[in-house]
């Protein structure tokens, strides 16, 4: 008997309070939920060359050793904290980077890491391995072009590709 009474009281209270709360909500706006899980489109060009300011194939002249020297310096100050040439470090070893990706992708990735991390399946994969997003080191096109030259030089010194 007592228990039933208490239960009733409790229920009444609950009902009253919940009505009040509901009635208070009135005119709250609901935002459109963002679409989740939608795959970003990626073109064949982007697959090969990444996302960024380089949108056509670069017409690269023969390797310029002076430019490469400048690129080496930039690499040491802006990249070498995480990338070594021959060992896996905070990021992948880089000596043969141009055997793995196109020069265009190289520049796009150096200048614009965030978008590539977000959209490019290969880069996403790397994130899964290294658990570290490549940092945006505020590199402009000219600097990236010089760093590219350094890696073109390194690539030319590698044993030739065997098919």
């Amino acid at each position: 008997m007592k228990k039933t009474n208490k239960l009733l009281l409790g229920l009444t209270a609950l009902l009253l309070i919940s009505t009040t709360i509901t009635s208070c909500r009135g005119d709250s706006k609901s935002d459109k939920p963002q679409e989740l899980g939608s795959k970003p489109d990626i073109s064949a060009w982007e697959m090969e060359n990444g996302f960024g300011m380089v949108k056509t194939k670069l017409n690269l002249p023969p390797i310029n050793p002076e430019l490469a020297k400048k690129g080496e310096k930039l690499f040491e100050s802006k990249c070498a904290s995480c990338h070594k040439l021959d060992e896996k470090y905070a990021g992948p070893a880089q000596r043969d980077v141009l055997r793995r990706i196109s020069p265009e992708f190289f520049i796009n990735m150096v200048i614009n890491p965030d978008e590539n991390i977000e959209k490019h399946p290969h880069i996403k994969e790397l994130l899964g391995i290294y658990m570290l997003k490549m940092t945006n080191q505020n590199v402009n096109f000219n600097d990236a072009r010089q760093i590219l030259e350094y890696f073109r030089l390194l690539e030319s010194e590698l044993p030739s590709k065997t098919n």
Binding site: L9, T20, S77, S81, Y89, A90, M131, T135, N138
Partner: protein, 651 residues
């Protein structure tokens, strides 16, 4: 059984009553919402506020940065007080910023933030703020939201009336709140009338923001309270309120409230420049410091100064005039047109508003009632344009909107009173909770008020917030002034005392906000530009660790060969060039603070290990998924140990 029933009925009554209360509360908030109040202050997640609001932290010594209309706190900028979070005043680079003629003074009472101006309009380059206690003015760089410079004011007994700026930021002014013997010396306090003087200082600001105490004006020993510079027609003049024209030196509460009128000092600074050019100044020997933060070297520098030029009004006719103003006036505020000068007659029942053109006419006509130490006193009736009556009790400060209205804060009656320029009639009033001091309208003391809001800067909150022990939060209130009637929108808590504030449209500041310090421009003496430059260098018992950080490691992260008795300097350079990626550096047992190093910057922590052992150090600012791994060890050996100095990372 009976008692159970009684209990049950009681419970039921309580429930029903509380439900009614909830209903009533709900009704109240609905009433507020019906005016779209909530919508007016709601800034949707991920979107920006319309205005920046810079509030002084009062006795906290810092500056708070808020967004309006949301009232959200974004940042506390360390200025006059040490801040262990950012190593402000703890790192070797920032210690010089606190230097004064009294040695290092790691605290002050920050009162009046002022945004720099171009052509009388807030331009968002710098924010100036005064240190009230040990007289100083600081300049904050609004591209980095950091304190760039702190200059000490010589010959001052407390820098309250400061740092009000001229139309093109030619000068920042300062006036001594407490008159003191000048130069300061050992005299009897009751020799006040004979020995005590005031000074009004003009600090020149050059194009890069560099400050210099260009000249001072020696004035009678009243207390100089607040100031504003002229604009438009009154550009070239600055106005300073004074109280204690009685020259009391004890129980000022009573003794400085005797005279019906005190004075506004009107200073013609263009005239002062002429007198300086003509060499009509005296050179006073004194001591003060200018401390600035060298942006390229990421290092603070202290400069000692020993002289200042002083103008004596009796020798420089036309330099200063006194305008009688009732009664112990506090604020002195110039309207957007530059013609009207409103004084908060703290103990008066009216706001006297002076007319600049009448002042000039009275000066031409030599309409003087007397003179004090060679300073002509103009006749009140000749210069007053009108009196705003019924302004409440204890009117303090006035700001202006863009539609010809003044808004005055009244401290004792705790309200804002809106009145019309020209007719001087009160058109609206709204209570402030509680005890309003200053108030702020975006651009409200410039030629171009942006209007829209007035922010009440209150001294007391009492019952407005959840209690937090004997001390309650300080607070500001956002009031909509876009309509005919003022409308309270929001209470929001503030750091320290929100003494005064400045607000400016967000886009003016945002577009110049820096994201990183370019590493190639870092000229710090102990910077490293690449990991391969990192090293540890011993010179006697001084050990310098040239260290780098990047996600997610220190180089070096293993250091051996440190001995008890060594003085170790960790010079840490953050090699990141990415926005919003500072790294922290903390080492066990440090007697100072952590470091928080911005991308591309170098900072130094001094560490004196006292016991042998191995000490961890680590990054304090969560920087990546491997942040927890961002750590290192430093081995400390005995005084006579032969452990060689060595360092590495990843070996």
């Amino acid at each position: 059984m009976n008692s159970t029933y009684i209990r049950m009925i009681t419970v039921a009554v309580v429930i029903i009553a509380s439900v009614f209360l909830v209903h009533n509360g709900c009704q109240q908030s609905k009433d507020l919402i019906s005016g779209d109040v909530a919508q007016q202050v709601y800034v949707k997640p991920g979107t920006y506020d319309d205005f920046y609001l810079f509030t002084s932290g009062g006795f906290s010594g810092q500056v708070g940065v808020y967004g309006l209309p949301s009232g959200r706190l974004f940042r506390v900028i360390p200025v006059f007080s040490q801040d262990a979070e950012r190593a402000w005043g703890y790192s070797e680079e920032t210690k010089p910023m606190f230097m004064t003629s009294y040695g290092s003074v790691p605290w002050d009472d920050a009162h009046h933030p002022k945004i720099s101006q171009t052509d009388g309009i807030a331009d968002g380059r710098w924010l100036f703020i005064n240190g009230n206690n040990t007289p100083r003015v600081a300049r904050i760089d609004l591209t980095t939201f950091t304190t760039a410079e702190i200059i000490e004011i010589p010959n001052s007994g407390g820098n309250h009336g400061s740092p009000f700026i001229t139309e093109n930021t030619e000068y920042v002014v300062a006036s001594t709140r407490f008159s003191v013997p000048i130069p300061n010396r050992d005299v009897a306090i009751n020799s006040y009338k004979e020995n005590f003087k005031g000074t009004i200082s003009f600090i020149k600001v050059d194009n890069d923001g560099k400050m210099n105490v260009e000249f001072q004006v020696l004035v009678p020993g009243f207390h100089y309270d607040l100031a504003h510079s002229g604009k438009g027609p009154s550009h070239g003049w600055a106005f300073f309120t004074s109280y204690n024209s009685e020259q009391a030196n004890t129980l000022l509460e009573v003794n400085a409230s005797q005279n019906d009128k005190d004075f506004i000092a009107a200073v013609n600074w263009k005239k002062a420049e002429e007198y300086i050019k003509q060499g009509k100044f005296k050179t006073f020997t004194t001591e003060y410091y200018r401390n600035y933060f060298d942006k390229k070297k990421h290092t603070g520098v202290s400069e000692k100064k020993t002289e200042v030029k002083v103008l004596i009004p009796s020798e420089c006719p036309g330099l200063v005039y006194y305008i009688p103003t009732p009664k112990s006036p506090h604020g002195v505020d110039v309207d957007p047109s530059g013609e009207y000068i409103a004084a908060g007659g703290k103990l008066a029942a009216v706001i006297p508003v002076h007319s600049f053109s009448k002042i000039i006419k009275a000066i031409e006509n030599k309409d003087f009632e007397t003179s004090i130490d060679g300073i002509p006193v103009l006749k009140y009736e000749s210069v007053v344009a009108g009196e705003v009556k019924d302004v409440g009790l204890g009117p303090l400060h006035t700001e202006f909107d863009n539609e010809g209205f003044g808004y005055t804060s009244s401290f004792i009656s705790s309200e804002i009173v809106k009145w019309k320029i020209g007719t001087w009639e009160v058109v609206d009033r709204i209570p402030a909770y509680y005890s309003i001091g200053h108030l702020c309208i975006p651009g409200g003391d410039t030629k171009k008020p942006w209007g829209k809001y007035v922010i009440a800067l209150n001294k007391i909150t009492k019952d407005r917030y959840l209690p937090t022990g004997p001390e309650l939060t300080q607070s500001a209130q956002l009031i909509d002034i876009s309509g005919e009637k003022m409308k309270l929108l929001l209470d929001f808590p503030t750091i320290g005392e929100p003494h005064y504030a400045q607000a400016i449209p967000a886009d003016i500041i945002m577009k110049n906000s820096k994201k990183i310090y370019p590493i190639e421009e870092n000229m710090h003496q102990y910077a490293v530009k690449a990991e391969k430059e990192t090293r540890v260098v011993r010179d006697g018992n001084i050990v310098r660790v040239y260290m780098s950080t990047i996600r997610t490691h220190f180089v070096p992260d293993n250091i051996e060969g440190i001995k008890v008795g060594d003085v170790v300097y960790f010079h840490v350079t953050n090699l990141e060039q990415d926005w919003d990626i500072p790294h922290g550096f903390a080492v066990k047992g440090a007697n100072n603070s952590e470091l928080l190093i911005m991308p591309g910057a170098t900072e130094t922590l001094k560490w004196e290990p006292k016991r042998e052992g191995v000490y961890p150090f680590y990054c304090t600012d969560f920087c990546s998924a491997l942040h927890q791994e961002m750590q290192g060890y430093i081995r400390v050996s005995g005084k006579d140990s032969s452990v060689p100095l060595s360092w590495n990372t990843g070996k």
